[in-house]
């Protein structure tokens, strides 16, 4: 699975140092599984596959620049959660967005899903808010749910349905943006970083 910027490769042991660096980065640690805690490398490795349906490292020319995860699968209900994080040097480059799009495309092909959820904080939401209504719907808001950086933040639950996945596939190269006009409001893109 490869896009313009990144390829998805199954997580290998040699990826673990890069992944550990990502989840212990100050910008990521408050949102990831340990919620601000800093696990030892051993603890991190032990939990790496807990409640995970699929996960991939994002690689650019053999370098690990991010990580995407599908977790908390409820296949009987037709949904799963997804999350992504970037290496600090790849923030804002679109690598995580593309990786997340590739993951969602893969999940939709692999399982009979009805929707995909992403959870994010209101602090991170502006990074990809332009996708609201096109790439995802905001289905839930837990007010003052998370505490970090000295204050409480809302947690947002985003959902992607089949029509959103079709737009993601368009952006990934199965249709593209040309020919789309503002008035058509159709054909397009991908979501971005949410946190496991």
């Amino acid at each position: 699975m490869a896009g313009r910027l990144v390829g998805l490769v199954p997580v290998r042991r040699d990826h673990l140092p890069s992944l550990y660096t990502m989840v212990t980065h100050p910008d990521t640690a408050p949102h990831w599984r340990f919620r601000g805690g800093y696990p030892s490398p051993e603890q991190f490795e032990q939990t790496l596959w807990q409640d995970v349906a699929a996960q991939f490292a994002l690689e650019q020319r053999g370098r690990c620049v991010g990580w995407v995860v599908a977790y908390k699968p409820e296949f009987a209900q037709g949904h799963v959660h997804v999350a992504a994080c970037s290496a600090p040097e790849s923030l804002g480059t679109g690598a995580a967005i593309e990786g997340l799009g590739l993951l969602i495309d893969h999940l939709w092909r692999a399982w009979p899903l009805r929707k995909v959820y992403m959870e994010t904080s209101e602090r991170s939401y502006p990074q990809f808010a332009s996708g609201e209504g096109r790439i995802f719907e905001v289905e839930g808001r837990l007010r003052q749910h998370e505490f970090y950086d000295g204050r409480r933040w809302d947690k947002l639950v985003l959902a992607l349905y089949e029509e959103h996945v079709a737009r993601i596939r368009g952006l990934l190269g199965m249709g593209g943006l040309l020919g789309r006009t503002a008035s058509s409001g159709d054909a397009d893109p991908v979501p971005r970083v949410t946190h496991h």
Partner: protein, 101 residues
Amino acid sequence: MKRQEKPNGRLDANGGSTEALDARAWMRRVADALGRDDIEFTLAARLAEDLDFDSLAIYELIVLMDELGADVPEALIPSLVTLGDVYDHYVTRTGGGVHRG
């Protein structure tokens, strides 16, 4: 998943060849593609600060440039601060000869 093969050169909406767009036409194409016809684009506008481009919009811009025949290497992305920076890259990649206007 296999990516759709990208034909060489610049393409119009129907996949046919076209000349490099001048700055005004290029900005109109960007605004249309990103669904941002609500504001007036200028080449001096900063993508994040002035145009409120988030990471998703930046990625959409990269995809559009790719489709216009001006693929953006990932190493270049952080240096694209203004719309003019992106347009300059587009002109360079598509053979130049077009003034910012």
